[in-house]
Symmetry: D2
Subunit: 374 residues, 4 copies
C-alpha cells in the first residue's frame, strides 16, 4: 500500500525533502521494549553525509518521538517519529517541473501526479525519506539483536574495486558483522575502503557519480520462518529493498552465479554440527522454498550511480517538447552506496521482524527464551 508496508508491523512514511518535516508511523510494536536511543543515534550517524564522498547538505536528523513511547518504553500503540528539515536552501526548483533530470523520478512523477508533486529537491522521492526509515530500522535492529539475530552490510564493490566477500563460516561472519557496525564506508578490508573513497572523490571532482554493490548477511535467524507461496523471505525482503531509490537488483545466496552451476555443484548438502542441522555450503543463502533453514541469510543488492551529476545532459522541455541541455546545480552525493548501507540493514530488519512476528506472535519479543518454536 504505497508509502505504507508490513503485515504484523506497519511502517507509514511521510514527508518531502523541502517540507517542514519527514517521519514515519510504526504500528504494532510490542509494548514494554526499552528503547535504546544511543542505538538509534548511531544508525542515524552512519546514514549522514560525511566528507567529500557525500552531499554537502547537512541535517541534524534528530528523531523526535511523538507517540508510542512512555517512560522510555514502547506502549504498544503507534510510535511516530518526526525529523525536522532544517537545512533547506531556498532555490527555484520550478524548472525541474518542465525539464526532467535524466534517470531521476521527475518525468514519471510528473505523469503520475499530474504536476502537483512537490518537486523541490525530489520531494517525496528524495533520499531524505530514508532518514525516518533508518530511525525505525534502529528499533527493529535492537529487537532482533536482543534475540541474537545480527544484520550487517558492507560495500562489496564500487567501480571495479572489490572488498573481500563475507565469510561462509557463521562464527567469523558474526564477528565481521560486528566490526562493520561502526564503519562509515563499510568494508572488511581497509585498503578496499580507501580505494573506494578515492574513487568516489575522483568522480566527485569530475562532476560525475558512481554506484556499487552491497553485500548483506543475517546470522542467528531460526529455521522455519517465511510464508510461502507469495510471502517467501526473498519476496518480502526484495519488496522492501526495491523501495530504496536507485536499488536495481537483488540476489540471494549464489544468485545470478547459479546460471553457470550444475545441481551437483549448487546443492547444499546437509550435515550436523554441534548437534545442529546445517548445510555443508550455503549457495541458497539460508533460504529453501522461501523459508529460513537456520543458515545465515546472504544477499547482494546493487545501487545505481547517483543520477545527479554536474555534466551537461540531454533533456526535453515538457511544454514545448523541444530538446534542451540540462545543467544540474545544488548539493548532491557523488555516491550513495556507502550511506544506503544502513538503509538496507533497516529494511531487512523490518522485514525479518515482521516475518518472525507472523510466525511466532508478538509475545515472542517479550519472552525470556525466544524461538520457542524450535
Amino acid at each position: 500500500m504505497k508509502s505504507a508496508t508490513g503485515q504484523c508491523f506497519q511502517l507509514s512514511l511521510f514527508g518531502e525533502s523541502h517540507g517542514p518535516a519527514i517521519g514515519v508511523v510504526i504500528q504494532g510494536l510490542p509494548p514494554g521494549l526499552e528503547l535504546d536511543e544511543k542505538r538509534m543515534e548511531k544508525q542515524m550517524e552512519l546514514r549522514k553525509p560525511r566528507g567529500k564522498i557525500s552531499t554537502q547538505r547537512h541535517e541534524a536528523d534528530r528523531p523526535e518521538i511523538i507517540s508510542g513511547l512512555f517512560e522510555g518504553k514502547t506502549t504498544g500503540t503507534p510510535l511516530c517519529i518526526l525529523i525536522r528539515n532544517e537545512n533547506v536552501r531556498s532555490r527555484d526548483y520550478s524548472r525541474l517541473k518542465s525539464t526532467p533530470r535524466p534517470s531521476h523520478a521527475d518525468y514519471a512523477a510528473q505523469i503520475k501526479y499530474g504536476g502537483f508533486q512537490d518537486y523541490r529537491g525530489g520531494g517525496h522521492f528524495s533520499g531524505r525519506i530514508t532518514a525516518p526509515l533508518v530511525a525505525a530500522g534502529a528499533i527493529f535492529l535492537q529487537m532482533l539483536e536482543a534475540r541474537g539475530i545480527l544484520i550487517g552490510t558492507h560495500v562489496l564493490r564500487i567501480q571495479h574495486i572489490s572488498d573481500q566477500p563475507l565469510a561462509q563460516d557463521e562464527e567469523t561472519l558474526r564477528n565481521q558483522l560486528l566490526q562493520l557496525g561502526n564503519r562509515y564506508l563499510a568494508c572488511l578490508s581497509d585498503l578496499a575502503a580507501k580505494d573506494m573513497e578515492a574513487c568516489i572523490e575522483q568522480a566527485q571532482r569530475r562532476g560525475d557519480s558512481v554506484g556499487g554493490i552491497l553485500e548483506s548477511a543475517v546470522v542467528g535467524m531460526p529455521a522455519g520462518v517465511g510464508e510461502p507461496f507469495f510471502d517467501s523471505v526473498e519476496s518480502r525482503l526484495s519488496h522492501l529493498l526495491f523501495s530504496i531509490g536507485g536499488l536495481k537488483g537483488v540476489e540471494f545466496g549464489t544468485g545470478f552465479g547459479f546460471a553457470d552451476l550444475c545441481g551437483s555443484q549448487a546443492n547444499d548438502g546437509w550435515t550436523v554440527r554441534e548437534g545442529r542441522i546445517q548445510t555443508l555450503t550455503n549457495h541458497n543463502g539460508g533460504l529453501n522454498g522461501g523459508i529460513t533453514n537456520g543458515m545465515p541469510i546472504l544477499l547482494r543488492s546493487v545501487i545505481k550511480p547517483t543520477p545527479s551529476i554536474y555534466q551537461p545532459q540531454s533533456s526535453v522541455d515538457l511544454n514545448t517538447k523541444e530538446p534542451v541541455t540540462l545543467q544540474i546545480e545544488g548539493r548532491h552525493d557523488p555516491a550513495i552506496v556507502h550511506r544506503a548501507r544502513v538503509v538496507v540493514d533497516s529494511v531487512i530488519a523490518f522485514g525479518l521482524a515482521d516475518l518472525l512476528t507472523e510466525r511466532y506472535g508478538l509475545n515472542w519479543w517479550l519472552e525470556d527464551s525466544a524461538c520457542g518454536a524450535d
Copy 2:
C-alpha cells in the same frame, strides 16, 4: 498474505502435488471480459513438460473454471480455476520427512509445519502449484494485450550458453516478444536453443541438472504507473517473482552492471521521438523512482539448477541426527528454466495489471481508449 497476494486483484492459491486438485481463486476481475480459452490453453501448453529436457510426469492440466464466468464472460465475482492431479504415482514418500533433500524445502518446511506438511512430491512447494498461476496469468496477459501491453521472456543463458539479448528498440522488441510467444525452449537464436537443449539433455544423462537466466520485457506500459514509496514497480514485481520456487535473483535494466558504470554512462538522457517523450538509452529498464516512464520494462531473473538430481547426496536423519547418503528417485526435471518462462510472464502480468488498476481504476479495462490518464 501467504499463498494470497494482490492489492486490487487477488490470487489465492491452493493445492498439493499429490492431492486431488490444485487451483486458484481470482478476486476482483472486471466484469464482462470475454475469456480467451485458446490463450489459456496455449499458456498451459508452454508450461507442460516436453521431451527429455523435462520431467516424465505428464498431466493433462486442463483448467476447469468453477465460478466467476457466465456465458463465456467474467462476472466480476470470484473466478475459481481447478486443475485435477491425475498422474500421481503411489510411492512411499515418508522418507522425505526424516531425510531432507539438499536445496529443497523439506527441512525448512519440516520445522515450519512441524512435520504436518504434505511431503508427497513436495506438497504445496511443488512446481505443480505454478500450473494454476499460469492459468490465472493467461487472463491477465489477455487483458494487457487488449490494451496494447505485451510481455515476453526468453532463456538468456544456461551454463555458459547465451542467447542474444533482447533489442533496445521498441519496434524490434515487440516483434521479438511476439516470436517468442510460440516457442517452447524460447530463445531468439535457434542455435542457442539447440545448444541449450543439448546441454540440458547431457545433464539429464549425467543425473544432474542445470539452471539459467531469464530475460523479460514489457512493451506498451503507459508512464506514471507504480506506487512509491513501498510499492514501486520493482518492489511489486520482485515480490511476485521471488515467489517462484528456485528463483534467486532479480535485476531491472542494467541491474548488477550498474556497479561498474559512472553516472555519466548510466544516465538515460531524455529525447522526443515521434512526439513521444522517450529516453536515449534504457539502463533503468523503464522505471524511474519506482514508476514507469513509458519505455520498455526490462528485467532478468535467475533460476537455480533443479535440486532433484540422481547422484548420491549428503543428508541427515532428522530423528537420529546421523549423516546419511541420499539417493533421489522418481520423475524430475533436469531443468525448469524453460518451463518457468511462462510462470515469469504470468506473475509479471498479474503484477502490472494490479498496478494499472490501482492507478486507473477497474473501468480502465472496459473502456475503448485505455490509459486516459495521459
Copy 3:
C-alpha cells in the same frame, strides 16, 4: 478485499448459486490440527433447509476438502473446501436481469457488474454462498472449543414473539450455549420455538416472509484481545456480520438500550470472583475500548424478512423504464433467521480466531496451555 477477508487467517469465497460448485480457500491455518469432520457435518446440517419453514431446494452440501489436509490433519498450507451444486433447476432467470426484485441485490448488481453478473438464483449473492462459510466456520469453532471458548446464537425474536434472553451468569450461559448447539430453530424456550415456527409457516402460507433478531454470546475469551484503534473487536466482528446477506443491524452488550441510560446505570463496576477480575454487570458485552475484558461477549444482530415473497410487487423494466408488476416464482425461504444462526456463529468464530492469532501468535493453537499472555 471483496470476497476475501482476514488478517492472520484468510477466507477467500467463490461460487454462484447455479454454477458447478461453491467453495472457500482458507489461508494460514496452523498445521497439525486434527479435523473433526463430525463437527463440520453437524454445522452443515444446522444450516440446511428443513420442513416448511425453509426453501424446498435441498442440497447434500457435502464439503469436499481439496487441499491443506493430510492424514486427517491440517498441513498449514491453504485448505480448500468445495461444495457441489446438485439440485439446480433449469429455469429462465433472464427476466431478473431487466426486472429487479424489490430488496434484492438485482438492481445494485446490475449497475455494479454492468449486466455481466450470473443472475441465476442470485448468483454470488445467493444465500448458498454461506454454505462454505459454515464449513470453514466449523474448523474455527473446533479450534476455539479446544481452547475453552464457546460460541452460540439463538433466535431472540421473530415478529413480536420473543425467546428468553441469554443468562448473565457465565456458568448458566455456558450451559445454554451447549444446549442451543443441537437445536434447529434454536430458542432457549421450547414454547417460543414452537410459536416462531408457527409464525413462519403462517407467513409461508400467505406467500409472505419474516425476519428476526439473533442473540449471540461467547464465553471463555481471554482478556486483552482486540486491536484498537480501527480493529476493535466490535469493528472486526461487525465487518464480518454485515457480510451476511439481509443482516442490517449489530449491537454489542446493551447496544441501542444505552441511549436511555445514565452513566451511573450503565457503567460496569469491577469486582473479584474466585480470584478473577470481573464486572458486576455486563452492559459492555465483554468489550472495553474495543478489547476483551474477560467477560462474555454479547451481541445481537437483525435479519430482515426474506425479500423473496410470492405476492405481486412493484418493479420496473430497466430497458423501457416502465413500471411493471413482478410475481416471484421458484423455491424460497419464508425466513432465514433460523438458518442464519450458524452463519453468525461461523463468522464470529473466524473473527475471534483471527484476533486471537494476531494477539498470541499461531503457536497458541498448538500449545497445551493456551492464553499464555495472561
Copy 4:
C-alpha cells in the same frame, strides 16, 4: 491493521492524550485537490467542547499539515496532519494503572499492553485521538461534496428525548443535512436540542453522564458501489464506526425494526422518478446486497453514556485483588454524543470515499463529470 485502515486510501493514526502531539498520516490521496482549510476548521470547531455540556479541557486543535500539500494542493504523496496537545494538566494518573475505571479501557489495556500503555488521560484510547480523524474526515467530506455527495448526522435521541427523524424524500433530506452542518448540538428541532442540552447539564450537575443515538444520512451516492461478499458498504462503514470509542450499535435503514415486519411490509418496491430508478420506500437504507442502489444511505449508531462520572464506583486494586471505591476526578464530558457527530460523519466520509475509489479509480476525483460508470 490496528490504528491503520483503508483499501485505496489509508489512515494511520498516532498519539496519546498527554503526549506532545497526536496526528494521522493519509496515504493515497489524489494529487491536485485544493484543500479547503476553512472546511477543516469548521469541522474541528464542531468537535470542540463547548459550554457545560462538554469537558472543560480546551485545546486549540489547530491541524498542522506536515507533508503532502504543496502550494495549497495535495501532492498525491502521504499527507500528515499533526495536532499539538497544549492543555495537558500535570496530575498523578498512576492510580489508573492499578485501579481500573468502570466501563473504560483501563483494565483491558492493562492486560493487552502489560502495563506499558500510556495511561495518562486514557492515552491512545482517549477521545482526543478523534481530533486528527475529524481533520482527515474534512478532506474526504470536501472531496465527496465536490462530487455532489452530502453526509450529515443529527442527535436523534438522548435519554427519552427525541429529535424528529430525517426525511425520506431526497430533496428535503438534502436540505436538512445542509442545515445540520452548522449546528453544535445538532437536531432538526430546536426544541429537542434545548431539551437535550438541559438533560446533559442536569446529568453534569449530578456528576452523571448520558449517551444517545445518532442518525446519519448520505445523499448523492451513485448506485453500484460496494464490494461483496466481505466488503459490503455495511461492513466497511460499521468497521469504521465501531472504532469510535463508546459506539456500541449500528443499524442500516429500518435496522432492528425489521424484526417485526413481514417481507410484504419491508420490501422496497421499484419505481421511476424523473427518469431515475428509485425505490418507493427505503427500508434498506440505500443498500441492497451490500451495494448502493442510488437511494440515500440511512444509518443509526448508539453512543453509550460517558463512563467518566463523578460518583463513587466499584473497582478493584489489581495488585491486591481487593475491592476499592473509586472516585474519578479531572475534566470530563457529561456527554459525547453531540461531539461524536462529526466523528461519525468523518468515518462515513472516509469509508465511502475509499469504496468509490475502489469502484471508479483515483481519476474519478479529478474528472469533470464524476460517476462515469453509470
